[in-house]
Symmetry: C2
Subunit: 318 residues, 2 copies
Amino acid sequence: MKLAIGVDIGGTNTRAGIVSTDGEVLSSTEFRTGHYESGLDFADRLSNTILELKDNFEASNESCVWSGLGIGAPNGNHLTGCIEEPPNLRFKGTTPIVQLLEERLDFARIEMTNDANAAAIGEKRFGAAKEYADFIMITLGTGLGSGIFVNNQLVYGHDGFAGELGHVSVIPDGRYCGFGRRGSLENYCSATGIRRTFLEMIAQKGESTALDDRPLREISAKTIAEAAYDGDPIAVATMDFTGRLLGEALASTALITSPAAFFLFGGPVQAGDILLEPTRRSFEKHLIPTFKNKIKIIESGLAMGDAAIIGAAALVTP
Amino acid sequence: MKLAIGVDIGGTNTRAGIVSTDGEVLSSTEFRTGHYESGLDFADRLSNTILELKDNFEASNESCVWSGLGIGAPNGNHLTGCIEEPPNLRFKGTTPIVQLLEERLDFARIEMTNDANAAAIGEKRFGAAKEYADFIMITLGTGLGSGIFVNNQLVYGHDGFAGELGHVSVIPDGRYCGFGRRGSLENYCSATGIRRTFLEMIAQKGESTALDDRPLREISAKTIAEAAYDGDPIAVATMDFTGRLLGEALASTALITSPAAFFLFGGPVQAGDILLEPTRRSFEKHLIPTFKNKIKIIESGLAMGDAAIIGAAALVTP
């Protein structure tokens, strides 16, 4: 039985899973990333977790053949094997995670890329992008990530950090991001951005909403999408505004690499047409004639829960 | 002697030249594109011009070996060999120019791409980009074009039209372009855009400029750059505004494909640091930390006059 291990390092939790060659997660485990202040301690814990997962699986499954270990991590650099200046992890600076794991584990291949790139590779290998040579994966979550395929290859760029679509400017002098920069896409179209828009719209319109009895903490892209689905006007306006900005940004991106499709992944996408319809309308509006009515905007074919692990495993699945 | 023919189809003139394998134009000729209303008539004229150029050259040079014919054209599609919906040519619709020339001429290879892609290929083959695997060529002229290299390959995208950076939105609800779209980069940072900014600044500030005695027709990116060089405040402010917007747009583009350098080509670039300095400052300001102080913005290494022909020839230079 041919297998790979996929690891998703997130700001809150780190999950590791055993993935079959057809993209099924056969066993998985997780621990809290936030407990670790040093990359070294984290690497110790991660390698122990992987060994345990692997040993337990081999105990009840015969003739396992391991193709390798793939990792998706915030600011994970495929070219250097390092996590560099991660915005959401407690261990700062540069952590040579691939080297640290190579010293602790015995896999033929250990590879890492960032989380959105891992999702793109997963979509290409196991999801809805199998037939696409040129496509862009967009992950909407706390942030907004992207992974870009050109001519059947993931674009890494000269230093391994290509695909930072979330940080592209969309509104000059707009909302602040964590870096002190202003008006970038993820401030508007990530799950966090959708929440900010909803609160801003209440502030501007001074109207009541269907979510007024919910604690502020529960106002999220998910609850806003549900309220929009039920017809709440401010929630609908929020999804419409989000779609219009996202569509314009995807159009600008399409003009650069000319993908055949965008695949959207993440919580906000579950709002379905309430988000996708204004996105597609704005997208077409902002294209030039030679690009119109050619490029699809599609929901990801990856299952929400396991996508990050599957994508990471796809890095080393032959 | 190994040779290629390069053709630059422009809105006003079409130029054809014989190019050596080290990128030197050995002989060239031109005729007015604007005379031709049909692609068929144009193809007849172009093939006659090429035959004449080639015959004349062979008459005085022994043992010429022709590697092929390369063409740069507005909306020239490398994948289909067609000029599709060109905005500035009199023959509209789709013209299968490669096929028409194959029927009329006897070259082993005839290839076409758009003018900015041809310039990028020329920069890679003969200019300042030889050592760069990931770079972006920006051509500033009547419009703003771009050609993108990723991993030593020009990016064509799924339908051959990648690299339309000039049409990316930079100011929501900004200036109109010929397609009725608003706020796209080339309305601000092309030579034409610089002229529009200068006139707008006079309108807003109501001040006199160093160009007040020149006929309106002579107000151009070139004369404005000259006035800026001599210290005219409105001309300086125009170049500053242009650089700030261009730098922001290049930063957004860098975040997507992560090039090691941008090469700027065209008339406005001759303004030198008056344009490049605010461009670089704005570029760095709009990057996230992992991208800062890594990516160069450099003047093109191609000679202004011959770049388009050299780039087109590079398409078929082995």
